[in-house]
Amino acid sequence: MKVSASDWLLLSPELFLTAAGLLILSISAFFDKAKEEFLAFLTLLFVGVAIGLVAFLSGYGGRGAPIFAGMFIVDNFAIFFKLLMLVSIALTVLASIQFVGRAPYPAGDYYALLLFTGVGMLFMVSGNNLVSIYVALELMALSSYILAGYFKLEIKSTEAALKYFVLGAFSSGVLLYGLSLVYGIAGRMGLPDLAKLFESQAKSNLLLVGILLILAGLLFKIAAVPFHVWTPDVYEGSPTPVTAFFSVGPKLAAYAILARIFYVGFPKFHADWGLIIALVSAATMVFGNVAALLQTNVKRMLAYSSIAHAGYALMGVLGFRTEFGLWGILVYLLAYTFMNFGVFALVVFLETKGYAAESVADFNGLARRNMTAAVVMLVFLLSLAGIPPTAGFIGKYYLFTSAMKAGYAWLAVLAVLMSALSLFYYFRIAAAMFFSEAEGAPLKSSYALTAAVLICAAATVIVGVAPQPFVEMLRACVIKAP
């Protein structure tokens, strides 16, 4: 395998973050708890440098061609996801400083694990070979399991980690079985090679089952129905900043590889996987929204809401060989990252005794205790429901249009109905904030958490009010279907 200097340069963000994670881990071994804020600052600095490296690569002439003998590719699609994922890590660090600082656990481990999860995610979105994608996915997943159980003396956190680990291990098994079936039939693992081979080959049932099992493994990571069962328990049990991160970061990586594997590797079988994804999307939207309606625990409600949003986002994969392609899902994920993280960051804001805002009643009278927080929360809820002029509306508009153009008008109509249904449970929180009596003293937040919330709110409003520059930029990031 011939590796050039350009190959190393194109993977420099991943390599840098790996070194940064190891450094944080080493520093935490020699410094006591008083240095936790320093570790958080250092993590933020490293993530900032990684963002700078990715931004530099976006203008680098060598991008777009396969590197490391075709194992990876750094194209505009990967660069968009890398930037978004690094921003989500930075937001998680900001939301964690106060939360983790109060916990009796080593912060160095936490921040290092966050960076290692990030490394896995960055490698995933650049994966151009089923093996490199799988190894990166495992790196991300193993770090995530430990993060879920970071509060190791809290039984909820430990149980969440156990469930996540066992179900995640089985989903990896399913994915691996699918990969091995595809390899057994094709004898190769590179995505472009697979597409080339299958172009001249008749489809076999065994190959379709292999593709389906790969899809099932990825749907687990996205938390789509019927592989969603882990989500509410893991979201409820994990430390809230980790939940916020899980609701965006690993999902972004999973959407990216789902799109890349099926657009680049299996375009010939579009009719088969397209049908399954449409059915899964419909079931996920309906189940997520209906289940969210029945919840009183806010984290569980938001978990089911994120399941519903996974259903919407899957519609964006259906625009295969239309003028939209993956454009819809890119616009939607840009909006989703900020609005969903923002909601969870506000749940962290209301933290009590290590677990934050358990029930809708915890939001009672928030407007009287902290008007800014209540208004910002309202913006996020409006955006999640898809009300204009917020980023959520723009994201849903592009998704629904994409589904219509791909011939799935029934799915778009269902999505509109489900969005209307979601208003009921989002507005339960809004009503509690503005129309219920205040309980407790006025709330104050840390500067870091406030910064995370305000960044999310600003992005949600700006993308909603002036979407054109973002939307046009994302058009250049779409993977072209062959």
Partner: protein, 89 residues
């Protein structure tokens, strides 16, 4: 005789204490076996349905997907059964 009876009762209590652990292992093993079997069963049922009704490959794919989902659900039920109910360590 009384001593023997006490020993028997003691061993019975110990057996009862020990049985949940074996039961958990047994249930976990069953879940491990049921998981792949449900995928195979779903695929075979779907395949049969596709051939019987003339719907092509779609029922086989949907069957395998539902089988995988059933396997996950069974595993999740097992994990839920192991929940402590929120008790702290």
């Amino acid at each position: 005789m009384r001593d023997q009876g006490a020993i028997n009762r003691k061993s019975e209590i110990e057996n009862r204490k020990a049985s949940p652990r074996y039961a958990i292992v047994a249930r976990a093993s069953a879940a491990g076996v049921i998981f792949p079997l449900s995928i195979v069963a779903g695929y075979l049922l779907g395949n049969w349905l596709g051939k019987a009704v003339g719907w092509g490959d779609a029922p086989a794919l949907v069957g395998a997907m539902l089988g995988a989902a059933a396997g996950f659900w069974n595993l999740y039920r097992l994990l839920r059964a192991l929940d402590s109910g929120g008790k702290r360590f």
